[in-house]
Symmetry: C2
Subunit: 503 residues, 2 copies
């Protein structure tokens, strides 16, 4: 079926074709779970170019209508993804002020949550942390590497690292690993860290002094807000699209108006908690903007390998130019992907490399040779990619089952966009619901959740919630979703006199 | 031979008896290496009480005439210890001002040294670091524990620590370990850290803000000065006796006159670099002084087990009262004693415990379960004490051989007090010698040393030097001492016109 190609600027060919398939999905002609025509089939069927056919599928994917399954093709999305209204774009396009009426330091707020959890003891169901379940990892492959290393270097645990440097084998392995996703850094510019957290903390130490301002995504991972707060910096929250990440317009406004702005922390892939993936064009513009305004771009890239994508995504660091700028401080870790038990992170700090090395040495000295070598051998092992493919497939199933449970049990008006990968869902609940209260109620029922206020100092996320999909969706998990739904319904029922905002 | 007991206040009995043995040693009647009479033998021989006999031996030990060898007895000290003049007591008894003419930030100075070392590449002879050689550890025992742990808990490396707490098995093991040296802390008040460095850094974060003042020993381990400098604190250096450690008079003066003084960092056992051991009465007074003035006492206790002592020494923390004060932040590590490759430290932060936990979580999250369990099993293993005894004996030999080499090859006027344990010697060189210059010259000859200016911001230690005795004293080490001696003689020969200060 050839399509009309008039008016192609307003409504390009690929959009017209995508609209056709959206209608077919809405009508049920293409049912959830069905395989979409392949790129080649679309070309032949509609007499369009390969590029256009690919654009059609990508557009449908970005709209949440279909999803890619690696090496297989595109499939119509299940009801979990489509039965719920999607996440909303932010309403403002300038940096967000914190609301002094609701403001409490993030550390204080988090300490309160953690303290309650501690007092409650271990809970039967932890939907609060963003970690894949141990069963999702390749424990055997890792254990084999570990035993092999202990046999090969029997005194590795009694060697103290004598020079203040990262192990050369680790530097080589990570530099080669970075090449696979389009980043070229010299081995000597790679430093081992205690997880990604220490890397981001060292980056902040290197680029800012107490009183300086750091731009962050809003909402963002609470660990970033904590790190900013504990060293006397101020976090400036920048609105974020749940699809494309940080608003670069708002960031530019901040760069022009905030003289003490020294850097920006960005999670480009599967931004925590919204799950957005920054398009390449945004990454390129972001790097240029940071170069122009002399801002350090601290790139926290721990979820890159969790994105469902037919090709390896490039981080913003790929657009950094080491020669004249080196403006991007790249931070990553194996903690989420392959070996949580090692806590092995790494970083490449561009123009701040020497300062970061000095600060790292002053603070925690060297890393274990043991875990550096184990990490180096892990990323170089064929087991690594095999495992990542399996884990992505398993997590996709868990995300969808979780989304379906949200659709089944949560109050009407709950909003959710299924992210294109990762470990968690970010939900906007009906406006009357307090996730702080829900945290207490859920804990009482043996369920741990991550309430919205953990992710921002603006007070905008009281009725938001992050739920982990890191564990297999068992009957116990399903029961947990039902319990959460009941608790929320109870909250709504007890507020009959409050005017209900439109969801 | 009964002694005269008149005038016992001026010259108590034990002193008279000790003087007798000092004369016998000076005359060569008792030769170096000979076994001293035992406590019981002294009692019978001189008709004195057990207490007096013990006082005699302790006094001779504190004077450097004899030394204790655990479970064996006391021995006359070798010529290495006695052929050199001992270290001098500090001349001032008030906090030391930095000399603005020589001041450079410690990090800048250290980065220059490190950078030179890095550019020189690995050196044939490293006398610069204070680590025992790998051959001094029980690599087999540790490797066996490690392999056992991997077999027993095959998926230990894929478990991410889910709660922001230290592993309970580690807390239990360290609390029981602390009991063996007289410290009682609840398991819940023990936190795992990345080596002792992170513990001291967290302690500083917890007790002080930029601009505050922290009292330190002078000279002190450069890592402590670095940690203070990188967070915008100011170090106030307190004079230290090479025998008994920090001058409490000078500290009290500082506490009275410095309103921004928030804490004091002390290495009570084998203070780095001087090697002093703080007497129990000083520790008790130090704790009381900190309680009185509201100062945090940050106790860095990584060398306690390296002291040659017939009984386990108690840290200052043993005098802390958790009920009403909890004024001592105790920091320790297994990095020097048993497992350098684990980088496993721990701390118990008294009244700052909750704050330290929060800061630790914000900064580096949790520790590896793997290394916590391995450390817990290490300290509980019978191999641990056996190993420490062997290592102390081996280090004693290496210290004495090193001191003998100093006596043989270094210029006249070099001063050295053999410390009662540990990994290094602290030398005062003749006043005309620059250890900064010696650092460059030695590096050129393939030898790394730790020059005096790394250990202070006051500019007082240009002609001081720390040398490691961590490795077995081979012909290569001996040749290194000879080379250092020649280089120093060269420095002195080139300054014929400078007035030479009395050594």
């Amino acid at each position: 079926m050839p399509l009309c190609s008039t008016d192609s600027r307003e409504n390009p060919l690929y959009r017209q074709l995508a609209a056709l398939y959206e209608q077919a999905i809405a009508a049920g002609t293409l049912a959830p779970g069905m395989r979409m025509p392949s790129v080649r089939e679309l070309c032949q069927r509609h007499h369009v170019s390969l590029t256009t056919a690919l654009q059609v599928l990508r557009h449908l994917e970005s709209e949440g209508r279909v999803e890619a399954r690696e090496r297989v093709g595109y499939f119509v999305r299940g009801p979990g993804g489509s039965a719920l209204p999607g996440a909303r774009e932010p309403e403002v396009h300038e940096p967000l002020a914190r609301d002094p009426q609701v403001f409490a330091g993030i550390n204080e707020r988090i300490s309160v949550f953690l303290d309650k959890a501690r007092r409650a003891g271990p809970v039967p169901l932890d939907l609060g942390s963003a970690m894949p379940a141990p069963s999702l990892f390749d424990a055997k492959a890792l254990n084999r590497l570990a035993q092999g290393l202990l046999r090969e270097q029997p005194d590795i645990l009694v060697y103290g690292p004598s020079a203040p440097t990262t192990h050369p084998e680790f530097q080589q392995a990570m530099a080669r690993h970075a090449l696979t996703f389009g980043v070229c850094v010299a081995p000597a510019d790679i430093g081992a860290t205690h997880g990604n957290s220490e890397a981001v903390n060292l980056a902040l130490d290197a680029v800012a002094e107490p009183g300086d301002v750091i731009a962050v995504e809003s909402p963002t991972f609470f660990g970033i807000l904590q790190a900013i707060e504990v060293r006397g910096l101020r976090a400036l929250e920048i609105p974020c699209s749940p699809r494309t990440g940080m608003s670069l317009e708002a960031l530019e406004l901040a760069a022009r108006n905030e003289p003490r702005l020294k850097g920006v922390v960005v999670v480009p892939h599967l931004q925590m908690p919204q799950g957005s993936v920054m398009p390449d064009a945004h990454k390129e513009r972001l790097v240029a903007l940071c170069v122009e305004h002399g801002l350090a771009l601290i790139e926290d890239d721990i979820y890159r390998e969790f994105v469902e994508s037919p090709h390896a995504l490039r981080p913003a660091k790929a657009w950094d130019r080491p020669g004249d700028a080196g403006q991007v401080i790249y931070c990553a870790s194996l903690s989420k992907s392959f070996a949580p038990g090692l806590r092995q992170g790494w970083m490449s700090a561009g123009r701040w490399q020497a300062r970061v090395q000095m600060l790292k040495f002053a603070r925690t000295r060297n890393m274990q040779t043991w875990s550096q070598l184990l990490a180096a051998r892990s990323v170089a092992s064929p087991a690594y990619e095999r495992h990542m493919r399996r884990m992505r497939a398993q997590l996709r199933i868990q995300r969808e089952q979780s989304a379906q449970a949200v659709a089944r049990y949560f109050p009407a008006g709950t909003r959710l966009s299924l992210p294109p990968g990762g470990l968690s869902l970010w939900l906007e609940l009906p406006a009357g619901i307090s996730s702080t209260l829900l945290y207490d109620q859920a804990l009482h029922s043996g369920i741990r959740i991550a309430p919205g206020p953990m992710f921002s100092n603006t007070g905008r996320y009281e009725h938001f919630l992050r739920l982990s999909c890191g564990m297999p969706f068992t009957a116990q998990v399903e029961e947990g979703y039902r319990t959460l739904g009941t608790l929320m319904a109870g909250q709504l029922a007890e507020q009959p006199l409050l005017p209900r905002k439109a969801a």
